[in-house]
């Protein structure tokens, strides 16, 4: 592998990792506070993407130059509303019954995937980024001398999401409440905090992040049928590798998975998926709680 090739693949790994981080962090956050394994997380990704598409094309066709930004907002809002509804109508009242919640989210994802197909059709869809982000910019060392602008932008989005979440978690009262809830929900409740409401809020944030990922990911790659499963798998592997409910863990997990996938793809294209699986198995053997996860007791 030449240096050029290595640099290109490494940058690919980094940009893919950025997207994976945005997808998985919402999943990880929801799990962290509520111990809910949201198997409908991939569905939230799709809901966000389709909500974005629903407003994107009409605006774009009228030549509205901020169509992508509006789509982003719609995607975030659409997924957040869906997430809140899920939490309020079904998951909230079975809080603590983790397996049952997991099964419920599986049921929801089956139904939602089919309904999305019914509403939006089976055609793959895609956003196109604003002109400023389209095309490529000059990047030294990589194979062709330039690199897709939007993929570099993905790194910026992931960094913004990571830093933003860190600030929320560590510098705001909401963050304190969320972290306290992760430690001891009952005690937090006894401090007068309405934990159920906090759960809804956290679910909204986690779902909104999935929606954000939907529009960003839907700009980098087309989306449609079966993307929900693919991104659910990504979220699962990222948090299993990095550690459930941990922000730095999710970042690390996303980085490792992205790199494993890209280097796997360029070295052994047909078996690239095995690299990711192998990564997961090794981590599980050494640290079942994930690289930066808290010990499971």
């Amino acid at each position: 592998m030449t240096l050029e090739m290595f640099a290109t693949v490494a940058l690919n790994g980094l940009t893919v990792a950025a997207l994976y981080f945005i997808v998985a962090i919402g999943f990880s956050l929801i799990f962290g506070l509520m111990r809910t394994v949201n198997m409908a997380h991939g569905t939230l990704f799709l809901v966000g993407a389709y909500a974005g598409v629903a407003v994107f094309y009409p605006l774009y066709d009228q030549g509205f130059s901020y169509a992508w930004i509006v789509a982003l907002a719609a995607g975030i809002a659409g997924a957040a509303v869906f997430g809140v509804l899920l939490q309020v109508t079904l998951l909230g009242w079975m809080q603590g019954q983790e397996l049952r919640q997991t099964l419920v989210t599986i049921g929801i994802s089956i139904i939602a995937a089919d309904q999305l197909l019914a509403i939006f059709g089976g055609n793959s869809q895609q956003f196109f980024p604003p002109d400023a982000l389209f095309g490529s910019v000059s990047v030294p060392l990589v194979q062709t001398g330039h690199y897709s602008t939007f993929r570099l932008f993905q790194i910026a989005v992931a960094a913004a999401v990571g830093v933003g979440l860190w600030l929320i978690l560590h510098k705001t009262k909401l963050g304190i409440i969320v972290r306290a809830g992760v430690d001891d929900r009952a005690m937090l409740s006894a401090c007068g905090v309405n934990v159920a409401l906090v759960s809804v809020l956290v679910f909204a944030i986690g779902a909104a992040l999935a929606g954000l990922a939907g529009v960003v990911g839907g700009t980098a790659q087309p989306f449609g049928q079966e993307k929900d499963v693919q991104f659910l798998l990504t979220s699962l592997v990222v948090v299993i590798v990095g550690g459930m409910g941990s922000l730095p863990g999710t970042a690390l997990g996303a980085l490792l998975v992205g790199m494993a996938e890209q280097f796997g793809q360029s070295l052994f294209p047909t078996y690239s998926v095995m690299f990711t699986l192998l990564l997961m198995v090794i981590v599980l053997a050494i640290r079942p709680q994930g690289l930066l996860g808290k010990r499971l007791t």
Binding site: M39, G96, R100, I106, I110, A118, L236, V273, M280
Partner: protein, 349 residues
Amino acid sequence: MSTGNALRSSSALVTVSVLAVLVALPFVLTEFWTTNILVRAMVYGIVALSLTFLAYYGGLLSLAQMVVAGVAGYTIAVSVPGAIPENSLQIPYSLAIPLAVVLATVSGLLIGAIAVRTREIYLLMITLAIAVSFYFFVQANVEYLNGYEGIRNVLGPDIFGVPLRTPYVFYFVALATSFALYALVLYVSGSQFGLVLQGIRDNPRRLSALGYNVAHHRIAAFGVAGFIAGIGGVLITIYNIGISPGTVSTHSTISILIMSVIGGLGHPIGAFIGAVIFTIIDTFAADLYDRDRFNTLIGVVFLAIVVASPDGVTGLAKRAGDLLRGLRLIAPGAVAADPTLQANVPSKD
């Protein structure tokens, strides 16, 4: 000794009568119902049985059972004569089937070893990740597994000179196999190993303090489940006249889970009841509901069961029959996992 919660003597009569009905059914039903509903339900029900076995007796909800079935299916597909593309092994079914079941058992043990330190939702996540990865793997492997297309024309062996695929022959083979495996599960549940397994489900810490190696028993449980799922995988492959990545896709993995949950994870028979219900809905949804939307229908049924009766149809029946047990999802672990309840138990030291 009693056999835990399984077969009580009073239900022996029920078992015999149900069996009698099942033996008589193909002579009453159309061939379509016999082969495409009942046989299909049984061959997939066997895989669901392996899931129910793990979930009910071991408290281990695994989504990797279709992987294990797939290992068995692919094993016979790449080794028997007649399969397309042609393989270089060409070993007869009489050897290929035992080999497939052995490999399935081994892969069950392997999955158990990977997942042994995790439980409940973690186990569910990890096994799902394994399942999806396996799907992508078989799809990507062109050299041996023929990638996306899979392997076709796996016709199955002859039974006393009659092809297994002959409808009635296949029905009775599937019935006998299902019943044997069902009986095996019931027997094992009352065995030394089965009791230990239920002990792990109820209280792994205590079991360890009694001198049992919990990890080894858990892995062994995955091995037993692998054996069962492997036999299911062999039958599924012969039933489908071949195997392809679609056989082990997420869709199939989730279908097995749906069967088990609809039927109820509270008793091994639930796997078959669930499989029959699932197969009927899957086959006739197009007639019952908007033709293109049967995934919505199956999803709604599944969701309704999870919300209304977490222990499925058998649970409903059980509750109607006796109110001995309260609401129990999968294993008693569900309640212990309630963080608010955990906080309640006064810890004094």
